[in-house]
Symmetry: C2
Subunit: 365 residues, 2 copies
């Protein structure tokens, strides 16, 4: 299989923010474009909870990436102009060290012995990676959803490390509605007997729990209005119906089932649990006591904050709040509200709105 993935091995012990450490963890990443001789054209992209580092295709790996229409030659994040790095989050399972990785001390997967992961840890791994690549100061750090929170953590922790910040459908902390949903997703996985208290054989995890969690994710990542437009009360074809009184009957049920089936097997359950929790824990105000104090160290010159009005998970008020707080610490903020109906996931699918928005961030550079 074609693979554009590179592996960076952290050269020493990596200390985790909430305690514990990892012995020389690895960070998987991909890059697009060329680093300029003065190393001043680099863009770092942090991902949401589930993607790998494969954000876009490249000659080495022509498979479409998860942000294919946004990143690449002559695309909004233009790899003819920028050297773009996307990394697989620490704690994930696509090449970076996480709970499914073998612990060198025991020869067994870490599983639940893995230390608590915070988004600050993911950001720190990103800082180590860009330093390793010879980059002192990035042109921009970019992230959507969990990736936006990670990008914000990066900018707070590593003052001077980036000139720009592009944060999409993100937040300074999670609200209880989002925490409740993620807590329930985790419980679905943990209550699946196949989870075995985290000790399932790798590759044979809690398939049922993951399927349920994914469906709840899909329901909340999109919007009720989108489902209404797409599915209404359409029924599945008669031939797919069975004698089961609770068989799938509506198209929306069949759609969720098909997508959940695609997801399970791809993602390790324990990695999902750790990164899901990391989103709950993140809170700008925990850096030095208040939001204002937390953001005070952030010295990006400019930021674009993008929110979507139909997002119920990271609602538009949280985007406004983030934009206002960044302005008050002196960042030049371009705040955008997009009317996409695809909810939290709009950045992945509503290219008519997101391509020009991301483009304008990089063209007003």
């Amino acid at each position: 299989m074609a693979d554009a993935r590179r592996i960076f091995e952290y050269p020493e012990t990596f200390r985790m923010r909430r305690g514990g450490e990892l012995e020389r963890p690895t960070i998987a990443y991909e890059t697009w474009g060329e680093l300029s001789p003065s190393c001043d054209n680099a863009v770092l992209l942090f991902t949401g909870l589930s993607p790998s580092a494969h954000a876009s295709s490249s000659p080495e790996d022509p498979a479409p990436g998860w942000w294919e229409e946004i990143l690449g030659p002559s695309r909004p994040i233009d790899s003819n102009r920028y050297f773009v790095i996307c990394m697989n989050s620490l704690g994930s399972c696509f090449g970076s060290t996480g709970p499914a990785t073998t612990d060198p001390a025991t020869g067994e997967p870490y599983r639940l012995t893995f230390p608590v992961v915070t988004l600050e840890d993911v950001a720190s791994a990103g800082k180590a990676l860009v330093s390793h690549l010879g980059i002192d100061r990035l042109e921009a750090v970019v992230g959507a959803s969990m990736g936006g929170m990670t990008a914000l953590a990066f900018a707070m922790l590593f003052s001077g490390s980036t000139r720009g910040l592009l944060l999409i459908s993100s937040a300074m902390h999670s609200r209880p509605f989002a925490i409740a949903l993620r807590s329930l997703q985790r419980e679905m996985i943990r209550r699946d007997p196949a989870w075995r208290d985290g000790n399932y054989p790798l590759g044979e995890g809690p398939v049922t729990g993951m399927r349920l969690a994914r469906k709840l994710g899909m329901i909340t990542y999109r919007s009720a209005l989108e489902w209404q437009h797409r599915f209404g009360r359409e029924r599945v074809a008669e031939e797919h119906q069975s004698g089961d009184p609770f068989a799938l009957e509506f198209e929306i049920e069949s759609y969720l089932e098909a997508h959940a089936q695609k997801f399970i097997g791809q993602y390790d359950a324990n990695c999902y649990l750790y990164l899901s929790r990391a989103m709950d824990l993140f809170d700008v105000a925990e850096h030095r006591g208040t939001i204002a104090a937390g953001l005070a160290t952030l010295d990006a010159e400019r930021a674009m904050i993008v929110g979507v009005t139909s997002d119920s998970l990271f609602p538009i008020e949280q985007q406004r709040h983030l934009a206002d707080e960044l302005k008050s610490v002196g960042v030049a903020v371009d705040y955008r509200e997009l009317e996409s109906i695809q909810g939290h996931d709009s950045f992945l699918v509503d290219m008519d709105r997101f391509q020009p928005t991301v483009q304008s961030f990089f063209s007003t550079d």
Copy 2:
């Protein structure tokens, strides 16, 4: 235990709308107030998915009911003036025949041999009950959530049977967002190994699945804004935390856990599955092909439609739509939008808004 519950035994075979039949099913109900000699002061109350017929306390059963502040002497539905009947839905498990009831033909619980339940069946059982009580025409039929859908079915099916209609946080059909959530709740229950394809020993059902389903219900019955006001990012007391990396940490998680624990054990899982599905299936447009044709037989004189702006399950647009359609078939409609922040469940908790609203329906009589 004090019990105000009465049982009506349907005197013959009850034919179900989607096929199948029940041999002399029972309907549990309670009443408040006195029926007038001319039988013209009766109000019928249909419930949401989970309540029993015990809507309010009475001398025979002083325990508070699920709509205690709304129904009783000198309360908005005034039992000094009206003879109020609340019935446990057909298919439920609080005295009315449902999947947990013994099938007289086999001596075993019906379980999944129970025929598909529709809200039209529940409405028909209600019609049989009021006829049995000597009532030809009701002063009003009242329902919230599933109860509102059932009340609407009643008014469509039994033309001339009611003068008034009070429908709260209800709809002419479910939208795919609500269907998706309920489908997922059912799947949580059905994937629990303790469900045993519906054949669990009664009283020892799929506790885990029911707990998960209840939590998802609670998250979606309320609103994100309410959680934000009530819980923010409050943590549970340190002493409740354990070594488990996924232990409850936020107050919102602890709140949901406590409430889910209260629910499980009270409600039979198969009954829940049947009534949940009945809500998905209900569609005014299936009565004679279109909404307008479906509503054409409805000859109530007046209706009040009440919606809550923070309701994500039965959103305010559905209330407006229902009000408009009822007007267009000649019903005098009083349409009310309430600004409660408690979402779909507001009718159970926001008494400051709901008491005067229900009161005004009955006082402009």
